[in-house]
């Protein structure tokens, strides 16, 4: 007889609860702490960031969920009083949006090619894309840097956007998706006399709508979070995206940093809440590297 095991399921549930708290804590704390006034922040965390700033510094660190008094003052000073952060934020958007749009567009055409025509040579090229996708920045940034220099686009957003547009990640993922479309659909369209472009546009793309969305989310978060590329390719402090700049906020403005950190994670969290199902489907479809 098989034993029923309500006990172990209870343990699992408790474990999941513990993990949930650990996973949510940093995000929630960042969010709630962004509504504290600078003086409250200083009295809670003054010990930690006390290298500059002055004012009252507490003897103990005081990790708090709920502010004593909810205030939007940090947001006001970060977003309205000085345009500084807005400029960085805008930089982030200007870098990330073109990469997402064009990477997905170029990848969808390439993925169609990898799906529609197979053969030793093409599979070899595809495998090469996979290897390239797996290369860390330490390898790819040197070639990117050299090309940017030759083209004279170093220190401009283009030095990040152009390599980003051609990054092989979405090609890989979209090909995985498209290869699941029943071949009979394509065959039928061909018999009806559709051109390749029509098959791609009218048969293939509509089938991958959710895939396109999930890949766009994945690409977005990857570049929204970028640090390595701007550090090397953008020397100019004014053109840095907020992801790099956040860590440079002066230690006297910790409250402001919490608020800007919250503002920075809002777009990706909204995308997550809206597209979670697609995202999960997108991640799950990767399956394995081969094939």
């Amino acid at each position: 007889m098989r034993k029923k095991k309500p006990f172990s399921r209870g343990v699992m549930f408790l474990l999941c609860l513990v993990f949930s708290v650990l996973f949510l804590l940093p995000t929630v704390l960042t969010f709630t702490n962004s509504f504290m006034s600078e003086s409250e922040i200083r009295s809670n965390y003054g010990m930690i960031f006390s290298s500059s700033g002055g004012g009252f510094v507490s003897g103990h660190v005081n990790l708090k969920f709920i502010p004593d008094r909810v205030t939007l003052s940090q947001y006001v000073s970060g977003l309205i009083k000085s345009p500084y952060y807005l400029v960085k934020y805008w930089n982030s958007i200007l870098l990330v949006l073109p990469i997402v749009i064009f990477q997905v567009a170029i990848a969808s055409v390439a993925a169609y090619s990898f799906t529609r025509w197979r053969g030793k040579l093409r599979d070899g090229v595809f495998f090469f894309y996979v290897i390239l996708m797996l290369m860390p920045y330490q390898v790819t940034l040197v070639p990117n840097f050299l090309v940017s220099q030759w083209l004279g686009i170093i220190n401009t957003p283009w030095s990040i956007i152009l390599p980003g547009v051609f990054a092989p990640f979405s090609v890989f993922l979209l090909t995985k998706f498209m290869r699941r479309i029943p071949y009979s659909l394509i065959e039928a369209a061909k018999v009806d006399g559709a051109t390749e472009w029509q098959i791609f546009r009218r048969v293939c793309l509509p089938q991958c709508r959710s895939a396109l969305y999930s890949i766009a989310i994945l690409v977005f978060i990857d570049y929204w979070n970028m640090v390595e590329q701007p550090l090397i390719l953008l020397k100019d402090a004014d053109s840095q995206p907020l992801s790099v700049f956040l860590s440079n906020i002066n230690s006297g403005e910790i409250g402001l940093a919490f608020a800007m950190a919250t503002v920075y994670m809002i777009p990706s969290l909204l995308l997550f809440l809206h597209g979670e199902e697609y995202l999960v489907e997108g991640i799950a479809s990767q399956g394995s590297v081969k094939g």
Partner: protein, 296 residues
Amino acid sequence: MKERRREKRHNRLRDLAASLCFLSPSLLGVSVFFILPFGVVVYYSLIDGVGSRNFVLFDNFRKLLGNSAFLLAGKNTLLFSAIAVPLAVVLSLLLAVMLEARIPGKSSFRTFFLSPMMVPVASVVLIWQVLFSYNGSVNEWLGFAGSARIDWLQSDWNIYVVVLLFLWKNLGYFMILFMAGLANIPKELLEVADVEGASESYKFFAIKLRYLSPTVLFVTILSLINSFKVFREVYLLTGDYPLGRLYMLQHFMNNTFRSFDYQKLSAAAVIMALVMVVLIALLFKIEDWFGKDVEG
């Protein structure tokens, strides 16, 4: 006969042209921004100065392998991967198995576990600093428990703080991959095992893990790649010049970029590319061996 063969060849040519049409935007970009310059990188790694035609073959590599900063960075990066990758694989598999059991609130748990991947690291490093500074919360809690304070970020412990951040960020993603893998295991097989009276642990190790081997490989590769990217977390947490164990390969690259030493940069990039290719090939071999009697 001849007609048909000619027609066949004609079709093949047309297919080739069409496939190239669709592939060319991507292939062109990849060639210009990755492949061709990488060829130049290989070339630079073999000569003794930009503009020189003097092949020195392995001199640059020999110099690099004698460079203490590079060796330290390489050692640290490998150490980090060696700690973080197995933990990531095991823990994310654990999460997936837990969510696979029928527990209440499963989909909320999935959302919670996955949410960190959508939070930019830059946004949460502040909290990490609040928690792990010398005067931070974790030490405060340790104090309540009667234990001595640890200087988390400024001592050899700092690598574990970053491992924690790495796991926090990546586990959800890997968990989804494992959940998909678990869902693909043929149900009949598990039912047969039940009828035969197999134990839970037998079912897990002999059946599920076998079928999961491609996923295990994939998660291992992904977490290996991501562990090479952990510079991001380290930089945001501790800046350009971290202490001891957190000096990563990307720090070495950044500093070399600053000095425009192309020979050093190129040699380092080539070595890392080779190491990656060898590692990935090795993992493929292991997966072949491990999953050979499972189709797929």
